[in-house]
């Protein structure tokens, strides 16, 4: 398969994730859509790594996986904290920091 196909697939996945982040309101689902976008980026990096025949991109993807795991942990911690304080789990309702 040509590398272009992988890149277009990655762009499609990124777009779907972006639509989810913009349209959905539940913070858990927004975090899931961020995962989608990160995995799309990882796919693009792997495609370029294969194109160049160089494995550095794979190490990069591994680090991205670690960063994504950190983001999930902190994000889900925030969701649990919101739930404990009986705040509505709806990002449209969380307006207190809005200027």
């Amino acid at each position: 398969m040509d590398i272009e196909w992988y890149l277009v697939l990655s762009a499609l996945l990124f777009t779907i994730g972006l639509i989810g982040v913009l349209v959905r309101r539940n913070p858990v689902v927004i975090l899931l859509c961020l995962e989608l976008m990160l995995s799309a980026g990882a796919l693009a990096m792997l495609a370029f790594s294969r194109m160049l025949g160089n494995q550095d991109g794979q190490v990069f993807v591994l680090i991205v996986l670690v960063v994504a795991a950190c983001e999930v942990v902190v994000g889900l911690g925030l969701v649990v904290a919101m739930y404990r304080r009986r705040l509505p789990l709806d990002v449209d309702e969380m307006k207190e920091l809005k200027g």
Binding site: R25, V29, A68
Partner: protein, 180 residues
């Protein structure tokens, strides 16, 4: 054969991704993401990234998704109307996203990289994508990134405990800005 595998994996990954966004219940969104990640790991295999495919399944579809299922179950299945977002975003969001897709496609197709139209070089270094090769790279060339990642994980773990840890139930000792 490779084409069949690619399109099979791509259809599964896209279907899983669309289901994540479209399904009402967050619990089912998490399960859809697991399906997406399994198919994505198959595509990683086609790109000769065996170690990362295994890591994706073990770390993501295994560990991280268990965390998600846990939180989704703890918070409860709060269903929201499917596209009931604020009216501006409902229109602008998809338009922005499609515009971004078109921009990325133009960037890919117009990049002039001749290697994009090939499946990559035939001869790759032996052991391309195996745990041994990636581990060597990580421990020799990218040691600082590796250590920084471990530090980041530690900070994230401490941060999650601070954020989500159980506060004392005594109402007089609530932290500032607590429930009011």
């Amino acid at each position: 054969m490779e084409q069949v595998a690619f399109f099979f994996g791509a259809l599964g990954a896209l279907g899983g991704a669309i289901a994540v966004v479209a399904v009402k219940n967050p619990f089912y969104s998490v399960l859809a993401l697991v399906i997406h990640l399994v198919f994505l790991a198959g595509i990683f295999l086609l790109l000769m990234a065996q170690f990362l495919a295994a890591a994706l399944i073990v770390v993501y579809a295994g560990a991280v998704m268990v965390l998600y299922v846990f939180v989704a179950a703890y918070v409860g299945g709060i269903e929201e109307p499917k596209w009931d977002s604020s009216p501006e975003l409902k229109v602008i969001g998809p338009i922005l996203a499609v515009a971004l897709f078109i921009a990325i496609s133009i960037a890919i197709l117009g990049s002039g990289l001749s290697a994009l139209g090939t499946p990559g070089p035939d001869e790759v270094p032996s052991g391309f994508g195996t745990p041994e090769a990636v581990g060597h790279l990580m421990m020799e060339d990218f040691l600082i990134a590796f250590e920084a990642a471990s530090l980041l994980l530690l900070i994230a773990a401490v941060g999650a405990i601070v954020l989500a840890g159980r506060r004392r139930e005594d109402p007089n000792k609530l932290p500032k800005g607590g429930e009011s």
